[in-house]
Amino acid sequence: MRFIMKLEYDQDFRLFRYRSTFFWYLALLAASLIVPALLDNYFISLLNFIAIYSIASIGMMLLTGYTGQISLGHAAFLAIGSYTSAVLTTKGWPFLAALPLSGIFAALVGIVIGLPALRLSGLYLAIATMGFAFIVDEILVRWESLTRGNLGIYLSPPSIGPLTFGSEKSFYYLGLAILILTLLAAKNILRSPTGRAFIAIRDSEVAAQTMGVSLAKYKTMAFALSAFFTGIAGSLYAHKVTFINPESYTLLVSIELLVMIIIGGLGSLHGAIYGTAFVILLPQMIILTKDYLPGFLRDQTGLEAGLYGLMIILFILFEPLGLYGRWLKTKFYFETFPLYKKETFKKEKKFYKAERH
């Protein structure tokens, strides 16, 4: 265990808690810069998808993990981001303008959705956002003059000025840069008063309100920010796969985003990345282990979805803190070596904790 003597108030919320943390992040950055040189295109492509979805799951984490608002409709924000970018770039706008605009447009829609959210909590919010996602999906299918309906839109790979990010390797650096910017933005939001207001709302709305946190303002802001990041991810996704149609943004995608943050561990940005990596790599792991599976399982198309379902159940039952929580526990085990007690992380179970009473 490491104890730091706190001399200033600022020490409580600086970007890197220890100097060594900063060093490790630098090392990680250096490693991620070298990685493409060592891997073949297939793995870089996987990393690219991890980067894109990480941006979306960071948005999701802000809303669900930190503000405590469940959304089952984030695929809609992803879709809005993708379609804004697609429509703008086919009209001749540069990618560099379309990218932030798709985020901003998603954020505007997020504000509209955030408004009813002020009156709803928990489960009602989940249902309302789900309904919203279905409506957006239907609009995308039917507004054929703009979205070409089910035919979809073809896009070109992103390009900034003379640079084109068509190859996997070049896209990797673009994705990495945007991911780092997103992470820094999220981290900074979270250590500002806004972020602490989010966390206060998550832990107790009533308490937050009594402390002077305006629920209306911060809930809408959480929705807008979350939608912004998801919209950015949507734009990147569209330019990565270069073809989009409404079928890429189903309810399953919204659930997948939720699965990412749950498996990663709610309430941590590390968790968002771990969870995303896990969910993206899971199908690959299934493909790799296919030869060892018994015959009747091998050719099942539903295997992946089934595993998702099982993962959600198992993680919530046995490791509610997710992968990041598991990592913290392991670290704690070695730090306090012979004295580790399982009860340290045991959650206090609250019975009769109800929305109604």
Binding site: I135, I255, L297, G302, I313, I316, K353, E355
Partner: protein, 296 residues
């Protein structure tokens, strides 16, 4: 004028039949929500499982329709109990979020499990019912017996449930638990057994809905998505109200059918969700719900 009126009535009737199914699935949500404050996102998948079980009994075991009906409902009741015992009970006291996610997980898992079971798979299946291909023709109208059967059976089931909750000890115990768990426990009601029973009943109701729906949409792995349409029904009725669920279901079903006939293509699929969002914005407690004040 008369053809128009006939069309109107015809649409209304098939709307009521669809609405009954939505209502039954919504009833499953409401029963569980009232008793345990959990929303079961897998309700639609339970319905799908019910339909698949009925299909197996009828097609593979060659049992008669009504016997299969009974067996399916019983079997799904057991499954509901198992689900509560294994998955939901350890989560009592966890945040709503976790429980919602677990039920979503159960739903996804069920769907993929069904696609892997030999004989079920991803194909669209069907089974013979005593009502198939028969029509009832009062005047100019043509009503299929399948639709009529849905309406009649749903009404019967609701009547039985009403009697159960009104007149039996167990039913009263369940209502007491849904009002105040602590007080119910003090009165000697085993809250856990009530939770179990709630899941049994709601899985059985889901199976009931599944069997009734099977002749109309056929049996396939994505049948459960109807469950997502039942959410608006439950919300419209006020999430904690049993008659509200049925009436909400009817309203959604009828609106949807009318939207399908009289509005441009596309409206039918989103009508339910537009109603949902409107209700949540204007009157979040629904038609029959009671707005409960939050206590600190």
């Amino acid at each position: 004028m008369v053809p128009f009126l006939n069309e109107l009535l015809q649409t209304l009737l098939s709307g009521i039949a669809t609405g009954c199914i939505y209502g039954l699935v919504a009833l499953g949500f409401v029963l569980i929500y009232k008793a345990t404050e959990v929303v079961n996102f897998a309700q639609g998948e339970l319905m799908m499982l019910g339909a698949f079980f009925a299909f197996s009994f009828i097609t593979f075991l060659k049992l008669p329709y009504w016997t299969s009906f009974l067996f399916t409902v019983l079997l799904m009741g057991c499954l509901g109990m198992l689900l509560e015992r294994v998955v939901l009970r350890p989560l009592i006291g966890e945040p709503v979020f976790a429980i919602v996610m677990v039920t979503i997980g159960v739903g996804i898992f069920c769907r993929s499990a069904v696609s892997m079971i030999p004989g079920w798979g991803t194909d669209t299946l069907g089974f013979r019912t005593p009502f198939g291909e028969k029509f009832f023709r009062p005047g100019e109208l043509v009503i299929s017996w399948e639709h009529l059967a849905i309406i009649i059976l749903t009404t019967t089931l609701i009547f039985c449930l009403y009697c159960f909750f009104r007149f039996t000890r167990l039913g009263v115990a369940m209502r007491a638990t849904s009002q105040n768990q602590l007080a119910a426990a003090y009165m000697g009601i085993s809250v856990r057994r009530v939770f179990s029973l709630t899941w049994i009943i709601s899985a059985a109701v889901a199976a009931f809905a599944g069997i009734l729906l099977a002749p109309i949409t056929f049996v396939h792995m994505n049948m459960g998505f109807i469950g997502l349409k039942a959410f608006p029904a439950a919300v419209l009725g006020g999430f904690g109200s049993i008659p509200g669920a049925i009436i909400g279901g009817l309203i959604i079903g009828i609106t949807e059918n009318f939207a399908g006939v009289y509005l441009p293509i596309g409206w039918k699929d989103v009508a339910a969700y537009i109603i949902l969002i409107l209700v949540l914005m204007i009157r979040p407690e629904g038609l029959f719900g009671i707005q409960e004040k939050k206590k600190v």
